[in-house]
Symmetry: C2
Subunit: 156 residues, 2 copies
DNA sequence: AAAAATCGGACCTGGCTGGTCCTCTTTCTG
DNA sequence: CAGAAAGAGGACCAGCCAGGTCCGATTTTT
């Protein structure tokens, strides 16, 4: 299903919500606004803080706020902060260089990496500002190759 | 990590391997060629057969073969056959119309669907024939919009 | 000093993934 | 016609991890 985890989904929702605010907000407030269970929201926000996407202010009147402008934070960053590097298959995970035993059999590998890169590029191109605005217009289009992209352009 | 399951990975490897062959092959042979554990390969191939991607011949000298030309079977079909409909988040799974409780809070939803659609389109555009050829050249590129695609074309 | 927050963990638990096995049916071959 | 070869269709299990909760320590405000 090519699914991302629910935690990550929460992360995107929370981060997008933060993008509509200015000052820091407490976990309780954010959880209420987004209807995410409070302890879970806390966990997610902690992870985002560790990833440097949000800054935390401790103590009374503290809370979380985005560490950068909404337009400068990508969905890919949120996903990476919560799930580690984006890798569609284990093969494409560069960190484990254990030399996949199928390597000689699967000429498939290079292609997976390309697919993976494509997905990653797509997610990097989408900012929290984009997500915060509903009705963003035509957000993403895909093309198989430059030539194909060209053909599409002409057809419009 | 936006990861697909290992079973699905096997499915792609097996299907891509079948794309390089002509007649039906037994599970044992396919498993040996691809270094996928035999019982697991059987399971995967059964699922592919149920999805109509491969045809099975029973009895002695039977086996599996692709049900269509490699160029006419997409990676998306393989994934769908093994994992059900592609849905990045639960929200984007159209089958469950239980009205996600966050709905009013998350203007995010429409955007997820667009991302989801983009990924799906990308996977639909990649055929087994593409996967079977290693070194396929620039297989996929992404663009945010037609305008952006245009800009990219010019920059090359 | 007390209250309000986050931090950094530990902890549990249910479901799902990956993997195996067994029996039934079908088909070919000798 | 008998037996072997092969898939169909399940049941089944073990391990892992996502999802979720909770607690004590620390920091800051009031």
């Amino acid at each position: 299903m090519l699914r991302i985890s629910k935690l990550t989904d929460y992360g995107v929702v929370l981060a997008s919500h933060l993008a509509t605010l200015d000052g820091p907000r407490s976990v309780r407030e954010l959880a209420e606004d987004t209807a995410v269970p409070q302890p879970t929201a806390a966990k997610v926000l902690k992870a985002l803080a560790k990833g440097g996407l949000v800054t935390s202010t401790r103590g009374a009147r503290g809370g979380y706020a985005l560490s950068a402008a909404p337009a400068d934070i990508s969905i890919a960053q949120v996903i990476t902060a919560l799930e580690g590097p984006i890798a569609v298959t284990e093969c494409t995970d560069e960190t484990t260089d254990d030399g996949c035993s199928h390597e000689e059999h699967c000429g498939v590998r290079g292609n997976w990496q390309r697919i993976n890169g494509a997905v990653q590029t797509a997610l990097e191109a989408i900012s929290l500002a984009d997500m915060a605005h509903r009705a963003g217009g035509a957000l993403i289009t895909l093309s198989l190759s430059a030539a194909d992209a060209n053909a599409r352009l002409r057809s419009h």
